[in-house]
Symmetry: C2
């Protein structure tokens, strides 16, 4: 540990600021990275160059571990903290270890949630940098997304005022096509060497995108919790201010650009995915892409540095990549493919620990079926985080609400609630086992948990097929608190991995959705709205039916209804709509209303955050 | 030079990418900075810690040079290029030199204008980094501004739904005031140790900001040219989405937060300026500040790294700070005070070359009366950039429009237009001389300029009181092309500086405006609208009348009318409104409509920008 463990446990920021950080060059050297492989961002952060991947392509992969959780309470069950704690303990018992986690949005950091660098003695440091700006990747995503958004409205405005000839002359003043224009020519099946070769009909088809303003699905984004811009009317003012239309802002991490950055396997792949992004359709219902707008190259330029993973360290001084932070409902909710691809090489002979968002039914399923499918990496072990608190809730305990003190059912021994609640743990273990991967249960222990309560959890876990079930006290004790867990993970990784995807890509869209609904969520079947049926037909015609499925569902229940705890049975999953992230490469069925822009509460976290002007340090960040 | 000079001159990006960059640690070492003074951002950029200023406080200042220009054409007359070229030439003749310039907005980089790193063989490098993200300062400004904006609308929404008691309980759940709440208590003249001590009337006054939605002057910002969001309606949707109101988005560099970052002299000063930001008024017309919203601390935290100047290098390998980029009309249009304060120490025994936006009537006047007043630094020399092209325009030449080929009046010898146009040069020289500073004229030479044309300019410059008038060919030749200019600047800096401000702060607002209008712009007087008169009365009552004046006026004429070229006479300056940037610390009278959000043209520059996937290099950035 690079910090001394104290009791009682100080605040997260106090622990983080007390750490004796290792220079990141030294952390990098531990895994064979030299100064030339890095772009330093101060002494304690660095971006790692992508060419490391090519250099290490023949190095054997490390073992690959995904940390997931049972169905959580709204407070979260300590998945990131366990990811850090497990990594620290692996390092402590002498194993080589690399950690890959997501970068958090600044919105929640200043809103309700506070920071996300882990907690207690299991954190990524420097925690201020982790929670604020980091190396600017989220800002780069916002810049790229918003350049695309501006390009759309500006194009509509200019097409309104220009004739076909005027448009052609404006876009090709020297009667030459640009490289991206040649891609559009090919897509439209038009053969021409230069604009003046086009027939008037071809010229019109080529230069006039004729975007249907009502079809535009791309929102602008901002990395702030700003409820007032969820729904806006833009384009007011004069003719030069564009055409009025209703649209909205999402938080940056909810954007497809963020999902693309997470999914991209190389700079070339990033460029191609951005080019494929569909922003809406023309008035004849043809998809209009970022490539058609001529902005995909500039967007890639804005993102080229953001594609490099960010190297930081845990409180044990072990290396960690913090990279990309897509939503876990409308997007895969995992850290980047490229960070894992590099990290698994750097972890050769050791372990790569990563985390997937929400519970095993959502983040882990997407980790396997979307992320691993894209990266080609084979996982060796799943760590399923459980808390006595959450299991009591699943057993029928009172409602758990953020900001309101816990009912005494949660702070005093209540074996009956635990007994009833372990069914949720068993269901989540079985979900993980479906993919052929050994499961280790990590019981993230709170002070108020009793021995008897924990014993019930352990027995249920083993009975359901877990390799082991270990109490973990990494929050209070750091690396030493998770040694038993680390050793169980090491043992599980020696088991054969019979990894398989839940579904193949080449079956119909409905079959994929129904496989997930019945096998993972325990539904009896799926009901589609007319709109969802229409989209399935459309996407099948457009050839998007071979994409994997990224379910947008609540994380607070195995079902679609956040109030159904435990293991919901005897229900059908309603799919109200399906959307396509063609660039990122998945379809996302909507099982409920997904909020893509959080709001500030009546007392936002920012009210406690300030600079100590004597020391220059951040105070109040939690 | 760190690049070989070729003829014909390649594109800016080709020159920049061919440069053999010096490691920034080496560049820093030249001026006495060690690795511990820096946060590296890759090998070729670094942020410099602010404590350097304290350590060097007793070191004598270098000479201080401001580069300004005559009244420009819409194409610009090469001020940044001359700033780089002069710096490179000073370095070439063996002088110690430090350059301080602004960071450009990404909006114009992808819109009409392209990059802003200088041009030809006079540039700041790496030019891609200069034009894209840099170290994220502009993104940090956007994040801070937009957190404040979200805080305003969220507060209105929560005040709508909560009683006074509910509001007090939400904001002070533990019956304790935060430090910033104590500032608000003091401002309201309420004495209380804890919230429960407040009378119901005090509680209402303290907790209910009661913001008048129609009074809000703070816009949201984004660093993209996005015409469609100049005017928007926010708050549509449901009750939880806030109250609908009309507002707008500005480009980030037009924000008061950017102006504050430019003006701040220390972290403490930054914190205080942010706290003072007025976002509008309550329903009783009292100013509501960022401090009142409890968000000033968090905003400062978002900006703490952005306050550190960014170290880069010129094409001669000499050090340059690139820091902050406030607008030059509604804001001072200069690089940061703090970069100059540090740079002038690092330039001890040598020269600090900086640049002010627009012409001498605007950027230079603000440089003297606002920036130097804030920093306490005394300038030694003004370099006034002139081109034969612009002087011909002032002499009655045809209209110059960006994107349309120049009339032959500009590309062939036309002594009559030059003879008539030099009056504008003379007027600008006289403006500079009013401040008691020696003036050197830099004639930024184009291929088509003839010997006779240049001779006319030189003679006029000397007759008007310039110390020297030198032809400069730094664009085509780099450092060697500006040696004569550098030597003239060295000589001018040996002259006594009799620096004085144009006006004292403690005179009435109107007296300050009229002094600028008559002495700098050559107007006969000033006419105020009723709204301007009302604001003058209001700001005087509020005690803002001691702030300096930051005129918001077109840069295309010495007058307020962009079509009046040469030296307009016999007119009165109309002031249609006056606004206050209380945090940044100035009042800005509006002499015309100032656009604070550019738009994308029919063929934006982004259409040529892409990544070369073979080399990973940026192409098409100009």
């Amino acid at each position: 540990m690079i910090v001394d463990v104290k009791s009682p446990v100080p605040s997260d920021i106090e622990i983080a600021q007390a750490a004796r950080l290792r220079p990141i060059l030294e952390v990098a050297a531990d895994v064979g990275l030299t100064e030339d492989d890095l772009d330093l961002f101060g002494k304690y952060k660095a971006k790692v160059h992508l060419d490391v991947l090519e250099r290490m392509k023949d190095v054997p992969n490390g073992k690959y571990i995904d940390v997931t959780a049972i169905t959580p309470t709204p407070l979260g069950e300590g998945k990131t903290t366990t990811t850090c704690g497990l990594s620290q303990a692996l390092h402590y018992i002498g194993k080589k270890v690399f950690t890959c986690i997501r970068q958090p949005s600044q919105g929640p950091t200043f809103g309700i949630k506070g920071g996300a660098a882990g907690g207690g003695y299991s954190q990524i440091v420097p925690m201020e940098d982790f929670n604020l700006h980091l190396t600017g990747d989220i800002h780069a995503v916002g810049a790229a997304n918003n350049l695309l958004a501006a390009a759309i409205d500006a194009r509509i405005m200019h097409e309104d005022r220009l004739s076909d000839e005027g448009l052609a002359k404006a876009l090709c003043p020297n009667d030459e096509f640009t490289p991206w224009m040649r891609k559009r020519l090919a897509k439209l099946g038009i053969k021409a060497d230069k604009p003046s070769d086009l027939t008037p009909e071809e010229r019109r088809r080529f230069f006039r995108l004729d975007i249907d303003p009502y079809s535009i699905t791309l929102n602008r984004v901002i990395d702030v919790n700003d409820r007032a811009i969820r729904n806006v009317i833009v384009g007011l003012g004069t003719k030069a201010d564009g055409r009025p239309r209703q649209t909205g802002f999402d938080i940056t991490v909810a954007s497809e650009v963020m999902a693309i950055l997470m999914m991209a396997t190389s700079l070339r792949d990033l460029r191609e995915r951005i080019g494929r992004m569909v922003i809406g359709t023309d008035k004849n219902k043809n998809a209009v892409t970022a490539e058609d707008l001529g902005v995909a190259g500039a967007m890639t330029v804005l993102l080229k540095d953001a594609l490099m993973p960010n190297l930081m360290q845990t409180l044990s001084g072990s290396p960690a990549f913090v990279h990309t932070g897509p939503f876990a409902n409308i997007a895969p909710g995992n850290s980047s493919v490229i960070a894992d691809m590099i990290g698994i090489k750097l972890a050769t002979g050791g372990y790569l620990v990563t985390e997937s968002g929400f519970g095993a039914d959502i983040g882990m399923e997407k980790f396997f079926d979307i992320k691993c499918r894209t990266s080609g990496l084979i996982p060796n072990c799943v760590v399923l985080v459980a808390t006595v608190r959450a299991l009591k809730m699943h057993g029928g305990g009172p409602k758990v609400v953020a900001g309101i003190p816990l009912d005494k059912a949660y702070t005093e021994e209540n074996l009956e609630l635990v007994e009833k609640g372990v069914a949720n743990l068993e269901a989540n273990i079985k979900i993980a086992l479906k993919f052929g991967i050994p499961v280790v249960v990590a019981i993230n222990k709170f002070n108020t948990d009793t021995e008897k309560e924990i014993q019930i959890v352990k027995e249920a876990a083993l009975a359901a097929g877990a390799e082991a079930a270990c109490v973990s006290e990494h929050w209070a004790k750091g690396e030493e608190g998770a040694v038993e867990l680390a050793e169980a993970v090491v043992a599980a990784c020696e088991k054969p991995s019979n990894f398989k995807f839940l579904y193949p890509l080449d079956i119909p869209i409905k079959d994929k959705i129904e496989t997930i609904a019945t096998e993972i969520y325990g539904a009896d079947g799926v009901d589609y709205t007319a709109e969802a049926e229409r989209k399935i037909k459309l996407y099948t015609e457009l050839g998007y039916d071979n994409l994997p499925i990224c379910m947008a569902k609540t994380h607070l229940s195995l079902s679609h209804d956040p109030t159904w705890k435990g293991v919901p049975k005897g229900y059908r999953l309603p799919v109200r709509d399906i959307r396509a992230s063609v660039g990122a490469g998945f379809l996302y069925p909507l099982c409920g209303a997904m909020r893509t822009m959080p709001g500030l509460p009546s007392r936002p976290v920012f009210m406690d955050i300030d600079i100590d002007l004597e020391t220059g340090k951040v105070v109040g960040l939690s």
